[in-house]
Amino acid sequence: MKTKEFKQSIDKALKNANMAGALGRFSEAYVISRAKAFEGIDFEELRTRIAEIKSYATEHLSELAEEFKKNAEAKGAKVFRTEDPEKVKEYILKLAQERGVKKIVKSKSMASEEIHLNPYLKNAGIEVNETDLGEWIIQLAGQKPSHMVLPAIHLKKEEVAEIFSKEVNERLSSDIPRLVKVARNELRSKFLQADMGITGANIAVAETGSIVIIENEGNARLVTSLPKIHVALIGLEKLVPHFSNISPILTALPKSATGQMFTSYVSIISGQIPNTDGSMKELHIILMDNKRTAMANDPIFKEALQCIRCASCLNVCPVFRLVGGHVFGDVYTGGIGTILTAWFDELKKSEEIQGLCIQCGRCKEVCPGKIDIPELIVELRRRLAKEKGLSFTQKAIFSVVNNRRLFHSILRKASSLQKPFSKEGFIRHLPMFLKELTDFRSLPAIADVPFRDRFKEIRQPKTTKKAAFYAGCLIDFAYPEMAEAVVKILNRAGIGIIFPDEQTCCGAPARYSGAFDVAANNAIDNIKALLKEEVDYVISACPTCTAALKYEFITTLKSQGKLEIILDAKRLAEKTFDLSSLLKKLIDGDKLRFNSRFEPLKITYHDSCHLKRTLHVFKEPRELLQKSGCIIIEMFESDVCCGMGGSYSLKFPEVSKPILQRKLKNIKDTGVDTVVMDCPGCVMQIRGGFDKEHSSIKVKHIAQILLESI
């Protein structure tokens, strides 16, 4: 459950039009500039190299830290390595006091923000100035960064003018170049007067003792050049073994962070350098652990140390662009931030924010460290559920889902209970606390007769090939007509269908909530049911269910130690197909043919998250639709989530709603009157949204469209 404060912070963020506007525009521009920056580069190859380098480093953190220390100290640096953030702060303060430091300039350092260094030094009477423009704005405003790379993206130029006006005691206009000039002038004297410069680093090279600092403004060059003391505060995960490892990271980082080809400045500092007065600079490098070693020792979460802090996971996140970084309540934000907060702070701190992840998988596609962020968030949920238990509601729901007979009998009862609320197959209004659920989209009514009962009436032809149909709850109980379409098409291709009655929920809802024990039971029930009779294929018309059958059963069972059934799970996985992939195979093998339509049908296609990013299927449905006589008018952001996310839309209706509204707009902008998709969950969300708008746009499952050409 969300606490009141958390809900309020989300509501506040959603109402902040500046931020949503700025983040929304950036997220759209980012996708284009990122793609352009990576043109001609094999991104998969590049990120595989980075992941290899970083995962090697993760396995050898301590050795690399020692090697770094030895090599940097041979070049005159002092290296201090500590687990404890308090010791970091004490070290810097002691150094400052011993050297009589009064003024410090800083370039951007997430590590320093992680340990709240600035207030600590300020309390000791030392003046600390951030010099990165965005960080300085935030510091003057007394706020927190809303984005890891673009800290002040939530502020409008008028607000920045206001903040600067106070600082320089002069009424400033909101002309951006003028504001930047003001910052240059104001900070110039601070650079020239500072006694100490503090930086972070993006990379630390063990074999040479070098640190690499990447920036655009030139402030880090001044911070490292002008003051006589340089302190570099570096998280242990920045270590890499070799000097040549700089290249792939440096190639990916700016492109991933801002869609830039390269940043304006990269400084590679190896040991002491001369000061402006000819003396040698004191260089102190602090290698901060703060639970990174513990993370490296965790078989699952060690992967998160492959992060190069580009924030691309924030930039592509459909939730982040609506709520921004402040709701995450800490310095690290977005998907990776949720994971880092759980570790650097404590697991409990991620309890609420982990819920924000809609599991669309878009971040996983762009992560240059090849981190499976959504899966790590599911793992957080699993551990939270284990440690803290599920909420009462979740427990109640999953105890039902855990029992197939009970679950199905409740669904059947719901069909008659919903009568007062349903009309034309929709539930448009619900009373009281359920109101929010139908506020922005109608819900489908539960079918009078579920597919499992209807199937008994469909006579199956005698065929040589046989497929077991896995319906999944939504098709079985809300959209049986989709299943009927699938059966008809496959029959036409000479495939007989069986419907194993003992099949039950695929376990995705339980799994995505961290209830792995329930998901494992669901998996076992389904494996037994679907393998009972020998078939050629197991077919599902729901990508989320397909992903569960094909991949998640195996990982869930492994994590629950149910090894005796893994072989069966693998056997099931091999036979399992999503509808589009199987139909494409049948068309290619000339087992199925489409009749041409009397008139081509103009449609647009929505890519469902699990189909596109877990099953990697997006060409197949398009090819099928074209072959069946459709003309596809592509919508903007066709593969961005519709906001359904299974139970997400029930937990965060306020976030689900604006995501859906974007989707509806993108569909409407194509000018066509039919939108097609492979996922019944997306149909539910998008159809419900259009129903609320009284729109005439038809929302169809691909099986229903293809059936028209059979």
Partner: protein
């Protein structure tokens, strides 16, 4: 890739990020061009109007006094106060990376850093033969054991921290003028 195509690639990439790129066959021509820039920018012996030229191989065979006579605001002495009051900083770069339009300098000596960070305009001289195709080939050539501060400079100083609007010239130079010289 031959040197001409490396240069063309460099020029395209660097100009795309607001750097100014020129190429001259001889040192004499390059010098004439640099003096022209200084004159155009009103370099004179007054604070905020100095041009500082950090010691470099390019200057070696040139008559430094002769140049100074033509340019009263030009100084070869590079100190923190002078750099803070200079309009132009001139230095020689050690390499150039073609596919990103990046200049690379061993900036261990403070003079190299002062003239390329504090003034509004940075004029960077680089030998055309020092072009390398990409970052990986650069990293295989440089030795951090010999150069304690390796600076990679790609275009002028920039920010987009206010409303994502690209603005040139925050803390570093707002103009980066790159002068390639073919003559060794």
């Amino acid at each position: 890739m031959n040197i001409n195509s490396l240069f063309e690639l460099f020029k395209t990439k660097a100009e795309a990020i607001n750097a100014e790129v020129y190429r001259f066959a001889t040192k004499r021509e390059a010098l004439g061009f640099i003096i022209d820039i200084c004159n155009k920018e009103g370099i004179s012996d007054k604070p905020y109007s100095y041009a500082l030229w950090a010691n470099c191989p390019f200057l070696k065979d040139l008559d430094k006094e002769e140049i100074s006579k033509r340019l009263p605001g030009l100084k070869y002495e590079v100190t923190k106060p002078l750099a803070a009051h200079a309009k132009i900083g001139i230095s020689q770069m050690d390499w150039a990376i073609a596919n990103t339009g990046t200049l690379v300098s061993d900036s261990t000596q403070i003079e190299q850093r002062l003239v390329s960070t504090l003034p509004e305009i940075h004029v960077a001289v680089v030998q055309t033969s020092q072009l390398v195709p990409d970052l990986a080939s650069l990293l295989s050539q440089i030795k951090p054991d010999r150069a304690s501060f390796i600076a990679l400079i790609t275009g002028p100083s920039r920010t987009a921290d206010i409303e994502r609007i690209l603005t040139i010239g925050v803390h570093g130079p707002e103009r980066l003028v790159i002068v390639f010289v073919d003559e060794n």
